[in-house]
């Protein structure tokens, strides 16, 4: 009997292909939209969070210039003001285990932009002055060559490590290790090439920079004796608060400042930035969720509309079927199967399209596609519910009419 009911339902669906297709289209669009939107929201959030995490979650940054009381306001140096408050003495004290027991590595940095040249090839590139620990602290593996040593930093050696794009631009396929390049007319020997990393957090292009010993950069390239920032790696993520205090105390006493609010430096922690960003992205997710919810509602209303119209317009058919002996149960089974077939077919197509759409958006937005089972279930569940309820409700109403009332229905 079920087989025959299915047969009746399929026949009825095939009788009006346009109507069946349009009904399915409503379901397809609803489900596709919801899956794509939710996936886009989650993908963007993952991307942002991962970028921040990529900096290293056990790092503190000491930036020159105070930022007042607020945790999130930028220090003076970030506003283009040159602050020369971070010096050699600071680095020395921070490396002192008795003064700052939770600090593992201290890595001072200077930055500048110079003309880089090799033979006749010239490029404008960012130059970062770092110490020998930079590679391990900031997780910069080398493709070839070796990191410069502590001796190189102490002795102001003219050695350089190239980012992968700079290496490609200056040398092409040639191996740069051992070659001599010029930075601002000063000769540097290339000792290593970093692996490609892509654009990191806050838009720093790690592949487009050249790393040289920090002392060399200070004296030979920039002619300064202060640092642009100091990266501090702490023992573990859990001691970040203590380490922040230690670093702050060391620097305050070294700078002879008693009021922490008047500090001429700022200690920033990527975790703070992460919590701020998580805040932003969760707002983004709520926003996208709202859009998804609205598309779900619109999709649902679309399904409701076409179901109500198509079933209502078939009241005469229901009347005829009853007149020749269909029971109410037969009518309901037929319309239930029809609604199930429409929503399941439409749902499957919608899920496939939604998945493909999510892949497409992820490719555009350059993030990993995330299509969660819950978003599929939500989209499918709501659309199916609308499809079933509004497919059966009018059929149920019509099946209660006497055959004559249904046949007379206009």
């Amino acid at each position: 009997m079920l087989f025959q009911s299915i047969k009746i339902a399929f026949k009825a669906l095939l009788l009006n292909k346009t109507r069946s297709f349009l009904t399915m289209l409503g379901i397809i669009i609803g489900i596709t939209a919801v899956i794509v939107l939710i996936s886009a929201g989650q993908g963007a959030q993952e991307l942002i969070v991962n970028q921040v995490k990529g900096i290293g979650s056990n790092l503190l940054f000491v930036l020159p210039g105070g930022s007042g009381k607020s945790k999130f306001s930028p220090p003076a140096s970030a506003q283009g003001i040159i602050v020369t408050s971070l010096n050699d003495q600071d680095v020395k004290f921070l490396r002192n285990k008795t003064l700052a027991p939770d600090v593992e590595y201290v890595s001072p940095e200077v930055r500048g932009q110079f003309t880089l040249s090799y033979n006749n090839q010239e490029e404008l590139g960012a130059v970062a002055g770092e110490d020998e620990n930079y590679g391990s602290v900031r997780n910069v593996p080398l493709k070839s060559g070796e990191w410069f040593s502590k001796a190189d930093v102490d002795g102001m050696s003219q050695v350089a490590i190239l980012g992968s794009t700079i290496s490609d631009d200056l040398f092409g396929v040639e191996d740069p290790v051992g070659k001599v390049i010029k930075i601002k007319q000063v000769s540097f020997r290339v000792v290593g090439v970093a692996k490609a990393k892509g654009v990191g957090a806050f838009g720093v292009d790690q592949d487009g920079q050249v790393i040289v010993p920090v002392s060399t950069a200070q004296k030979l390239l920039l002619g300064i004796n202060y640092y642009n920032n100091i990266a501090v790696q702490v023992r573990s993520e859990s001691v970040i608060p203590q380490a922040t205090d230690e670093v702050t105390k060391v620097l305050l006493s070294n700078h002879k400042i008693s009021d922490p609010d008047k500090a001429d430096f700022s200690v920033k922690n990527p975790a703070d930035a992460l919590s701020l960003l998580t805040n932003i992205t969760s707002i983004l997710t709520i926003f996208l969720g709202a859009i998804a919810g609205i598309s779900l509602l619109v999709g649902g209303i679309g399904i409701m509309n076409i179901m109500l119209v198509s079933v209502t317009e078939r009241t005469r058919e229901i009347g005829l079927r009853k007149a020749i002996g269909a029971r109410r149960k037969d009518i309901l089974t037929q319309f239930l199967i029809e609604a199930v077939v429409l929503t399941v077919f439409g749902g499957v197509v919608g899920i496939i399209l939604g998945y493909l759409g999510a892949l497409g958006i992820a490719a555009l937005g350059n993030w990993t596609p995330i299509v969660s089972i819950s978003s599929i279930l939500l989209a499918f569940g709501v659309c199916t519910l609308f499809g079933l309820v509004f497919g059966i409700y009018p059929a149920n109403k019509a099946s209660k009419l006497s055959p004559m009332e249904a046949l007379r229905y206009e």
Binding site: L15, I324, R327, K329, S402, M404
Partner: protein, 232 residues
């Protein structure tokens, strides 16, 4: 006992409202198995309403209706569906065939709801019925590809497919030309000759002339009930 027996049957539309209409007032009627009855009357006389109540397509507002010794007014909906499916066949003025469905599938429809035939049996019997009404060359045509007379013959085949004892027809020739009318009435006459009970509504004297008994209605009441002596 009579096949059909009605006692004080009343049918009121919009019951209790200002525009209340009594389509049938106190109908008392007996029809024996094997009869060939025409129900006549002007528009609004209640003849179609009577037909729908007799044919289980609509229920009476009050009164008693016995069919085959069963009190219909007390039966549950599913039992009525079974009677409509098994014991009677209905032919409509507007044919009421499923659009975009072949003649043979239209005829098979009541067998689907009988829930006891295989698909092969349904196809075979539907074909037989269509042959019987002279449409063996139109098995796979859709209603839109058939003339009115042919569509009505498909509808008759559909009414016959479950081999019912009674055929009801509501203005079966109302939408047909005179040639098709003759064909359809010829089929009815043949069915009656084979022993089936036929009850039909018409407002045309010529069509009523095929019947053995003519019942006339006016304003919801039976005004005459005579045997047709000048039968066509």
């Amino acid at each position: 006992m009579a096949l059909i027996k009605m006692e004080h049957v009343r049918k009121v539309y919009n019951n209790g409202e200002d525009n209340e209409v009594a389509a049938l007032k106190d109908i008392n009627l007996e029809i024996q198995a094997g009869e060939f009855v025409a129900v006549m009357g002007a528009s609004g006389s209640g003849k179609s309403t009577l037909m729908h109540v007799i044919g289980f397509l609509d229920s009476a507002s009050s009164g008693k209706y016995f069919f085959d010794n069963q009190e219909i007014t007390e039966l549950p909906a599913d039992a009525l569906s079974e009677i409509r499916n098994q014991k009677v066949g209905f032919v409509f003025q507007a044919f009421n065939l499923l659009a975009r469905t072949s003649a043979i599938d239209n005829v098979a429809l009541p067998m689907l709801y009988a829930r006891k035939y295989t698909l092969a049996q349904m196809a075979e019997r539907s074909k037989e019925m269509l042959v019987q009404v002279g449409l063996e060359s139109r098995l796979n045509h859709h209603p839109s590809e058939l003339s009115g007379g042919q569509q009505q013959r498909v509808a008759i085949a559909r009414a016959l497919v479950n081999n019912p004892a009674v055929i009801f027809a509501d203005e079966p020739t109302g939408n047909l030309d005179s040639r098709s009318t003759e064909e359809v009435m010829g089929i009815f006459k043949k069915l009656n000759d084979e022993g089936r009970t036929l009850i039909f509504v018409t407002h045309e004297e010529e069509v009523a002339a095929y019947a053995k008994r003519i019942i006339r209605l006016k304003d919801g009441e039976i005004v005459s009930d005579i045997l047709n002596t000048i039968r066509k």
